[in-house]
Symmetry: C2
Subunit: 252 residues, 2 copies
């Protein structure tokens, strides 16, 4: 690698992504607009970016990125949701994150994608050629800083997840997950104590390093203890946030 060689730009936003709420004027139609959520206000660049964006529509289950493939693109989600995961040769799956509107993805090492990404529901995305995206970023320092900042948040989130996977019990994992969940999809805020579970039990299990059955049992346990109440399969109410936090910290 020569000195003038640009490093590959490679991004992935994990759930805790942006780390803060973004202005509501964000438009879901194009990646250019979505970039605004990163804090970049270089409008000249945004205009230029718009010319680079290729809009994309995906059906549920559609594969967006395949681990090991060549990585010419960076993506930005403009609506819907995406799961990002890796697989072991024997089929076991670890979901690394759930991505929503405004999140970037396309993490690559040596021009190869390091994970697979699939749409969880009908989703729209914007696609950028990495080279063009990279060039744009180079000319827009605030944008690059914003991206760096964003990746830092991701790294912090990844480290929290390592702590969870390596050292927490099943109930602690679920409790932590339920506490974090509201921060995932900021574009669809829930009411106080209200938690949306837009993913299946299987996906939760593969995210928490557990099995479907264990997740189900732990949900039941929290329900029995009066910590949460199930509105439907995909919606629940946290009745005792204090107890949920206690569980997440291993105090129970």
């Amino acid at each position: 690698m020569g000195a003038r060689n640009l490093p590959q730009l490679s991004l992935l936003s994990l759930p805790s992504g942006c780390g803060g709420r973004w202005p509501e004027q964000v438009c879901p139609s194009c990646g250019a607009a979505a970039m605004r959520i990163c804090g970049s206000t270089a409008d000249a660049s945004l205009a230029r970016l718009e010319t680079l964006a290729e809009p994309l529509m995906l059906e549920p289950g559609a594969v967006l990125i395949r681990e090991g493939d060549e990585a010419p693109y960076v993506f930005n989600i403009t609506s819907g949701s995406v799961r990002v995961f890796k697989r072991l040769p024997n089929g076991r799956r670890q979901i690394n994150g759930f991505l929503f509107r405004g999140d970037f993805l396309g993490l690559a090492v040596g021009n190869t994608y390091v994970f697979t990404a699939e749409a969880m529901e009908r989703s729209s995305l914007c696609r950028f050629r990495k080279a063009a995206f990279r060039a744009l970023i180079r000319d827009d320092p605030p944008l690059e800083h914003a991206l760096l900042n964003r990746i830092s948040h991701e790294l912090a989130a990844a480290q929290n997840q390592m702590l969870l996977l390596g050292r927490k019990t099943a109930i602690e994992r679920l409790a932590s997950f339920l506490l974090d969940l509201p921060n995932y999809d900021l574009s669809r805020p829930a009411g106080a104590g209200r938690v949306r579970l837009p993913m299946t039990r299987g996906e939760i299990a593969d995210y928490l390093g557990l099995t479907i059955e264990t997740v189900s049992r732990m949900v039941t346990r929290l329900k029995t203890q009066g910590v949460i109440r199930l509105i439907s399969q995909t919606d629940l109410l946290v009745e005792r946030p204090d107890l949920l936090r206690a569980h997440a910290n291993g105090d129970l």
Copy 2:
């Protein structure tokens, strides 16, 4: 956060850090030189950087960074090794990475360090005020790109670790670890098949999400199977790399 606000620059190099070997003219005396390993050759910047660096010497076990503290500094290791970890309230520890010469650390979110870092042996580091470091990077695009590249490698490494922690068995974890280990400390390359274990069993356990005893048992199992041979407590020889890889992939 206003638009002109710079995001906090926040870095942590995980073991697989740089992803490639660096030129051997790297000098262990100062962070400025260490930066060269990132691929930046902007010598004007390097000269300026040198004026910003505060050298630091740490004894084994010394705490470099404490999780939750204010985060005014970014560090670069110029010799020795550092362990980076998080703790649960009940004391359980998850080691997120082992860092060596050339690695940066100082990951923060909202101006607060997100992990604790301790010297594993007598180590020297260079310390930079984050603000100064940040300003320098802003004026040195190749440097910033190099850092972005580096962080991308870290994120990829973090995702591999999530897969390991969430979905691999004890023997698979150890095998994966032994295969990765040679890439950690590139400044002290080992001979072919030779693996140095500069950390204790307890540290390996806390890195792999296991207990000391399990790590010990798995080492014994690999030894019994003729996959590895122990030279000493801290040095071993991989006799059957093929079998080790098979174990890491869960094929055995």
